[in-house]
Amino acid sequence: MPPFQLVWRNLTKRKARFLLTAGSLAIAIFLLCLLRSLVVALEAGVKAAAADRLIVQSKVSLFVYLPQAYGTKIAAVEGVERVMRWNWFGGYYQDQGNFFAQFACDQDELQAIYPEIQLVDGSWDDFQRDRQACIVGEATASKYGFKVGDSVPIIGALFPKTDGTTWDFRVAGIYKSTKKNVDDATLFFHYKYLENALDSGEGSGPAGVGIFVVKMSPGADRTEVMSRIDAMFEQGPQVVQTTTEAEFQAQFVSMIGNVPLFVSSIGGGVMVAILLAALNTMLMAAREQTRDIGVLKALGFGDGVVAGVLLWQSLALCAFGGGAGILLAASTEDSVARMLGTVFPGYEVTAGTLWSAAGATLLVGLVAGVGPALRARGLSVIDALRRTG
């Protein structure tokens, strides 16, 4: 049992240094948690994707629309239970900076195909009945203060209203997703509303369907259904590629893929630099204690005890710094998530992240502690006392 009181006294002898070193460690560990959480957020959608859903999209481009007639053809394919049209609307609320996703989709299919979308306020019936109704994710609703019954005016950038006015949606429900593949920031409204407006000339924009979401019948063979759909449109007019929901989500991750890589490599470098600096400070501090070691040994403390004191000093310092960093990451989770908001939803500091941060902390503690501890163990009393420093 090492003398913990001595460990504590040694650490707090130079308070400023103790706080500054622990502070640097806290920052490095906080950064580690933050960066890992960002990457986790990106991949969350892919991991949570449903196995029985397929996405039919143009093989040519994200921005190419599929003919309406494809819907009935896909529905007739063996192994397909339900088909839903799904269009990116690309509008904004009041100002271009207020970004959240809006999708036009077949409202009855949405409820049937996406059981993870759970209303926390309002009702599905109300959403189904009213052509101009929409449901909004909790995050967006709380950010802009939307409540059930409110009217939400959206300016169509991709689908402008011909008379220059806004598209008005009435909030029929606020939803929360039980899985990460659907975020809590989206506004869903009736595909029919968009279709009718385009047909009547009330609005303008690309005709056709962005993607079709397919729900397979239970027991259907996934690869077979996928190749049946792809084969049907091989000769055009628009070639399609059918993927699983996971692959569909993964394509967006790979498209912005260099951004998280970029952030993590910079952040990783930063973290290593900070850790090295902290490490160096700790090693320097240990060297300054050489004379204290001599005194301890002269007083009759064993080699093991002296080495223990130095090791525990390092571990305790790291526990303070790393612990503060972990606490900071956990306690700022909500505010960081709110800051990233509707543009980058899904930020979550997972238990796995916290554990790996704790592991990194322990590692630094050991690396910084073992060297000086071993040296202290082997040092003779005379050598240690002779040193001034």
Binding site: T21, S24, V60, L62, V239, S254, N258, V270, I274, A277
Partner: protein
Amino acid sequence: MALVPLSYNLRSLVVRRSATLLTVLGIGATVAVLAGVLALQQGFATLFVENGRDDVVVFLRQGSTNEGDSVFSLERAQILMKTLPDIERPIDGPPLVSAEMYLAVRREKVGGGETNVPIRGVQQGTFRILGDDIRVVEGRAFAPGTDEVVVGSKLADRIADCRVGDTLVLNTTPFRVVGMFDHPGPFKSEIWGDRDRLAEALERPVFNRVIAKLKDGVDLGELKERMESDPQVPCKVMTEREYLGSQTTAFSFVLRVLGAFLAAIMGVAAVFTATNTMLAALAARTNEIGILLSLGFKPWAIFASFLFESLVLGLLGGIVGCLMALPLNGVDTGAMNFQTFTEVAFAFRVTPQVMVVAVCFSLALGLLGGALPALRAASLRPTQALRRD
């Protein structure tokens, strides 16, 4: 009114060279990260803005923010091209106006994965307007009306099927790559072909934008206002420079925020390290301060002296950081511009502004890191300081 000789501080830094080096490297790494991110932003923004021309105007559909959103029907484009009096129409040749089709298509990257590459269907007018800015560097230009394309010089190494002689399949139609072209601006990340052939292959019977060279002396402000409320073809008019600039705002903003965020976090850690080093310096030199005080130097002179020393540390860090960031200058990189969802190739640019910001930042770090130790040094009393060894 005597200042402590500056050579005292400079020599002190040399004597404690390992601690000095650690601090300088810490500040340097921080500054290098900031400079690197800013250099990325500069490279990206100048690629667009510097290579946009003021005498070329871009017509977009009203309310759209980029050419991906913008659509002109064949008929509207014709009206614009044939009747607008402000367009330069040489007596001995065709008018300097061109309607283009634009689409970001899904292509495979050479190293695997997918990205979006812009395809531009152009009329011969585009070449007349841009003139020598577009240079064929390998092979030849595509023949009008044929299934041939030319690729931008930045694509060959990054995107599959983009070498001269390759075949690119678009939807169901194969296109032959007959040449490679260069352009100082963002066009070198695009694939160009005949607008009518591409429109047919991609089933997009529309134009996305119209570009034109204006007659000398046309009042741009007046033209913008007039076209906004044009009864036949209301549209948004921008110079090419303004248009390209507007495509960079979101990504530039993200890079600036990212740079500021990383710099802030690392800055705090660097200040901690600097303070630690200066505190250690102070502890080792308590005796010297006592001597200085008894020689008659006033506490404020001691304060100024220590602050100067940490400013020198900051400056050295800034220089080291700039030196670390300098090799990045001119290095090619690619990033997803999420405003247009396409990948753009550009080079880092470590501009003088970037370096000025970096050095100012490092001086601020030195100042903050030196403040506390300098205050402590100034508050020592001569007897107290001399007594310590």
